[in-house]
Symmetry: C2
Subunit: 346 residues, 2 copies
């Protein structure tokens, strides 16, 4: 089977590997329909983090179940499914509490190889999310919407639920990448009436507005804090979505909330230590982490996509075939694409 | 009027000062009935923090309104009231959101002098909490319960609401001081079915159990984390109340929660920087800060005391008159009293 692999920083390739197989009773093998490139893939693509040469890559896909292990009863061959990057077992304390991204039975080696023709998916019985019908039943745009439910839309939603966004809230979204833009969608879905998106790129500002942003702030740091103050009569935001992870972004996120606001963060934190006294003295909360993909897809997001209430697939601004994997990464690495789509099979 | 003052570390006195007066339209003057000593008073009593010599002290009391400024209409002379240490204006974004401890119109000089015969109380119109009837209508134990609503019970409750304790939760409470013990009461009031109190003192363990603790852990640090694991089948707690503030306690609090748990902290943080990546990778939340005294008293706590559902006044294990202020501080400073009561007038 053809699978995208990392060669060295800046260089991707497609290799012909042995076809994925069921190895454990809880496995399923999926024939991938669509996959995509994540902002976090750029870390090793850019050489910021280490990755083994010739390793399969990707952690976002939708596909068709081809075969299942003996313990998998919730899905069967032929089913159309979302393949979350999370692999919740469904029965540990984390999964039961709705935090399947922190499943206590997950293994480190499972989140690879989604950018390929076939994928061995562990913990398939609970973690996979069944989509009604078959790919042919959906439009091209709907397939893209469904694909975002494997990670990016669920991650934006996790930022919003972690920030405890409520109906009527004023929300600030830090970050105009695909996750931040999905955070805007999530804030609106949860009933926020004012959504302030921090963005300095015209195309992303436009998409943020299309997704529900009511205000755009192009400034950063303390200038951005001041702008939020001006927009909220000095009060600050009720909830803040931190979808970047840099020290400056986290610091700004904490400062733009009103007393009692919660910062919901999904941007992987780049700095280890931070001053949390700034949180304490203003009752600012800090929540977030790895998304609850299966949980949130089942409870909210798949339904919202199927009803056409949200259109997160619009974050895919460039489309590639698997053989074009180098171009797909370059488009994101050079910020020409908000997110690169990979169409793998029909 | 007689008022307790700080002389130097380890030395308290009572001085005769000019009687408190209404100075602004939003002021009230209260005749204090009962007051008490807070664990946070011990910082400057022990010389850990600086305080000006001869400065009036105390920030917890119940009393009778003696006079009010022209803008005060919610209470009138003769009313029996709780005097919260918070001074919410009632109309800023923080107060409206229920975080009156972070009132955006508070001034720094207002939280002094509660340990005295009379008190000038700012922002009296909204911040004071009216108690039905008069002191003579209540038993001695009930007056003590009411007194805790000026700070300690509201602070324990803030830890519990910050930790988002829900019915059926397993809760860990860090700290067996008066605040931690009130945290146990609060966790039970919010419906927690299992309450694990961290305590190594027999008298405090007994009171924790009387207040609703189902389990006691005397170990600290990683040994305590292991014990919580044993008690929860490896899962960890649904919510954690951090009522100490030391680095070790905060670190332990973060480790004993299951993925997705929130640490509600009211212990004033002693370390500025902390590693928040430990939070992110397990979706542990960190909330808390200064209590919402007026808000929570009005919405929940006064009612719970009046109905006899909670008995937080039991944290007062020693009783003093105002002239015995030195002994009242010594009893707490030497850990002979859980909390020192000051009976000032009848």
């Amino acid at each position: 089977m053809k699978t995208a692999v990392f060669i060295e920083p800046g260089k991707m390739s497609v290799q012909d590997l042995p076809k994925a197989q069921v190895k454990q009773p809880t496995d399923a093998v999926l024939k991938i329909v669509r996959a995509c490139v994540c902002g976090s893939d750029l870390w090793w693509y850019r050489g910021i983090s280490k990755r083994q040469a010739n390793s399969p890559v990707g952690h976002e896909a939708i596909g068709i179940v081809e075969s299942v292990g003996s313990a998998v009863t919730n899905v069967k061959p032929g089913d159309f499914v979302i393949a979350p990057f999370t692999h919740g077992c469904g029965h540990c304390a984390a999964c039961l509490a709705g935090f399947d991204g922190d499943c206590m039975n997950k293994t480190d080696d499972e989140i690879v190889g989604y950018q390929g023709e076939y994928l061995r998916f562990k913990n398939a019985n609970w973690a996979l999310v069944k989509i009604p019908g078959q790919p042919a039943d959906y439009t091209d745009a709907q397939l893209n919407d469904l694909l975002t439910l494997s990670d990016v839309m669920a991650t934006g939603y996790h930022a919003a639920t972690s920030a405890e966004v409520k109906a009527g809230d004023t929300v600030v979204v830090m970050g105009d990448g695909a996750v931040g833009l999905c955070g805007v969608i999530a804030a609106k879905l949860l009933g926020a009436t004012r959504i302030i998106a921090m963005s300095r790129h015209a195309d992303r500002q436009a998409l943020a507005k299309e997704f529900g942003a009511t205000d755009i702030i192009a400034e950063r740091g303390d200038e951005a804090v001041q702008k939020v103050g001006e927009l909220t009569a000095g009060a600050g935001a009720d909830a803040v979505l931190e979808c970047v992870g840099t020290e400056l972004s986290v610091d700004t996120a904490i400062k733009v909330g009103r007393p009692g606001a919660v910062v919901g963060r999904v941007g992987v934190p780049q700095k280890t230590e931070m001053n949390t006294n700034n949180l304490f003295w203003r009752n600012i909360g800090l929540r977030g982490g790895i998304a609850s993909v299966t949980t949130d897809d089942r409870q909210v997001l798949l339904d919202a996509v199927l009803k056409g209430e949200i259109h997160p697939g619009k974050v895919f601004t460039q489309r590639f075939e698997l053989d074009e994997i180098q171009a797909a990464y370059e488009a994101m690495g050079q910020r020409r694409a908000i997110k690169s789509l990979l169409v793998i099979s029909e």
